[in-house]
């Protein structure tokens, strides 16, 4: 029966190849969509965790708390460090301030972190475009902020934060400028060393502790953070809250979850179109062979055998297309896994998407795509298979379909 079904496909080779081609295309596009989406998700995940760490420790209810109530003792950083293994732990102090330069005063956020630490590496050293990197007692500014304030490396920037717990004001030399991918961040960004920031705004205090886990590099691994989040929250007690990266970077986290859900719908839609093609091909093939199917029925094929013959043809057609699409998809995934440039990288950098992305294909996505490919074909074959099962041999043999 399988041999017969296979040979039947090649009675109209053009039609079968076109249909298999559409199934192949749907499979390929489905796999490519997964590969590209994972590349995007990983890129965004990478940027987001660079900005916030995988976990962020803050004061409980910090969003509603007054500015000075958001700070907590620096000793908490050591407690966190003692609780997490194989992690980079860094205390950060950020505070809003007015930055005055030669031209005007502008609102900014001053970040205090250790020179040579993780934040220094990913925010300053990685994006430095003028002057020198961070040193104690100096400041590195976003290039956009410096330009608007009329400041350049070598100038002195006056920082003023009324109501701060520290000195509240100070004059810092501008050491260098950074060009950050996110324009909004660059327009407000001032970095100084942690000790200077604490002296200016909150002596001996931190605003957050960031925990970065070098062993969690991909979005698909993000779920592994949950257990650590819960353990850390329990250890620190109710005065603190431990946020995951997607909670800290809230808009992006929600968007990614929603995008993943839509993704499966997109892939399903590709296969709805492919299923219509399979239905068309299998139905035409059935219609042209009604007489022959009548003969097969007359020879003793049961209705189930007739239905199975039509169903097998649809399955083989889909298998052919799915195999071709999978091979192409795997080859493309392999190539994209080595990295590819993001289109319109400058524009997308605003949304935290890196300029180079790395494709990824998961076995589950491959399984989902193939399952949908076969299910849609089987659904498409239901009608012709049902009609074949209902054939009356004598009437069918009188049919002049072919």
């Amino acid at each position: 029966m399988i041999a017969l079904a296979w040979r039947n496909l090649w009675r109209a080779p053009g039609r079968s190849l076109t249909t298999a081609g559409v199934v192949a295309l749907a499979t390929y596009v489905g796999l490519l969509t997964f590969v590209l989406t994972w590349a995007l998700l990983n890129g965004i995940f990478q940027t987001a965790t660079e900005r916030t760490g995988h976990l962020v420790v803050r004061v409980a209810g910090y969003e509603q708390a007054a500015l000075e109530a958001r700070y907590f003792p620096q000793a908490v950083e050591a407690r966190v460090r003692g609780r997490v293994k194989n992690a980079v732990v860094e205390g950060v102090l950020s505070h809003p301030a007015l930055v005055a330069g030669g031209r005007r005063g502008l609102g900014a956020v001053v970040f205090g972190f250790e020179p040579g630490g993780r934040n220094d590496r990913v925010l300053v050293q990685k994006h430095l475009v003028a002057g020198q990197g961070l040193r104690p007692g100096g400041a590195v500014m976003g290039r956009a902020l410096a330009r608007r304030a009329g400041l350049a490396p070598g100038d002195a920037a006056y920082l003023f934060a009324p109501g701060a717990l520290g000195m509240g004001s100070g004059l810092l030399p501008v050491l260098g400028l950074v060009d950050l991918p996110e324009s909004r961040l660059e327009a407000n960004f001032v970095a100084t060393d942690l000790a200077t920031a604490q002296a200016l705004f909150a002596p001996g205090l931190l605003e957050r502790v960031e925990v970065t886990l070098p062993w969690v590099r991909r979005y698909a691994e993000a779920e592994r953070i949950r257990a650590l989040q819960e353990a850390l929250a329990q250890a620190l007690g109710s005065g603190y809250q431990v946020l995951r990266w997607d909670q800290a970077y809230r808009g992006m986290g929600t968007l990614l979850v929603a995008y993943r859900r839509w993704l499966y719908l997109f892939v399903l839609l590709f296969f709805v179109l492919a299923a219509l093609m399979v239905l068309n091909a299998v139905y035409l093939s059935f219609y042209e062979r009604i007489r022959e199917l009548g003969v097969i029925a007359a020879l003793g094929a049961t209705p189930a055998q007739l239905g199975r013959l039509v169903w097998t043809e649809a399955t083989l057609l889909s298998a052919l297309g799915a195999a071709a699409g999978t091979l192409l998809g795997l080859a493309t995934a392999w190539r994209l896994a080595r990295g590819f440039p993001m289109i319109a990288a400058e524009e997308y950098a605003q949304f935290g998407i890196p300029k180079v992305l790395y494709g990824e294909l998961h076995a589950g996505d491959l399984g989902f795509t193939l399952l949908v490919a076969f299910l849609s074909s089987w659904l498409a074959a239901l009608l012709p298979a049902y009609l074949a099962m209902r054939l009356e041999p004598v009437e069918a043999m009188r049919h002049a379909g072919d």
């Binding site: 029966m1 041999a3 017969l4 040979r7 039947n8 090649w10 009675r11 022959e292 003969v295 097969i296 029925a297 007359a298 020879l299 003793g300 094929a301 049961t302 209705p303 189930a304 055998q305 009356e392 041999p393 004598v394 043999m397």
Partner: protein
């Protein structure tokens, strides 16, 4: 007990509000090993009678019995299984499956029965050899003459070793030489292997070779000759 029996068979075709009677009360009994024919002009109901006897169609009234089973009471699937196990069909237009070779066509009924592949091939080849076309086993129907195709169709019916072969105008599309050769082959198989044949035909060449002729006109049996 008769191998095949029809009691008061009536068949009326209905379509577009018009009723067309094809059979008007046919009684018939066929014994195992017979080589018989239903003869009559076109439209006399020969093919309809064969279809009803073979369980391809259901009578409007009457009964059909095959080896003690009442065929007209069976479901569609049961009738299919009965045909598969007990009836071999040969059609006027050969009706071979074009994408299968002669050997695969001859083995097709065995394939439907789920007979192991090796046995299928052996029995199909045996049938093709008996019909003198073993050397054409691997050719597809489009590379066979009409006579050769009809022999493959007979081989398909015989390879399954049915209780009865029902052949509807098997020689109608064949020239004199091929027609006669096929008739002689079927006659030999009837005599040597005891296979029961019932033909629907108005071909005098075939009628001259059968042991029994049942004459049918306007859906009724009007005469019968035994030789």
């Amino acid at each position: 007990m008769a191998l095949l029996k029809a009691k008061n068979l009536v068949k009326v075709y209905r379509g577009d509000g018009v009723e067309t009677p094809a059979l008007r009360g046919v009684d018939l009994a066929l014994e195992a090993g017979e080589f018989a024919a239903v003869a009559g002009p076109s439209g006399s109901g020969k093919s309809t009678l064969l279809h009803l006897l073979g369980g391809l169609d259901l009578p409007t009234l009457g009964e059909v019995w095959l080896e003690g089973t009442r065929v007209d009471r069976l479901s569609r699937s049961q009738r299919a299984r009965l045909r598969l196990q007990k009836v071999g069909f040969v059609f006027q237009a050969y009706n071979l499956i074009p994408v299968l070779t002669a050997l695969e066509n001859a083995a097709f009924v065995l394939e439907l029965r789920g007979v192991p592949r090796r046995e299928q091939r052996a029995r199909a080849m045996e049938a093709l050899s008996a019909l003198g076309i073993a050397e054409l086993a691997h050719r597809r129907p489009n590379r066979l003459s009409g006579g050769q195709q009809q022999r493959v169709a007979v081989a398909r019916a015989l390879a399954a070793r049915p209780a009865v072969v029902l052949a509807d105008e098997p020689t109608a599309n064949l020239d004199s030489k091929n027609g006669l050769a096929l008739i002689e082959l079927m006659r030999r198989l009837n005599r040597e292997a005891g296979i029961t044949f019932l033909f629907a035909t108005h071909d005098p060449r075939l009628l001259a070779h059968v042991d029994r002729v049942i004459r049918l006109e306007d859906g009724r049996i009007v005469g019968e000759e035994r030789r």
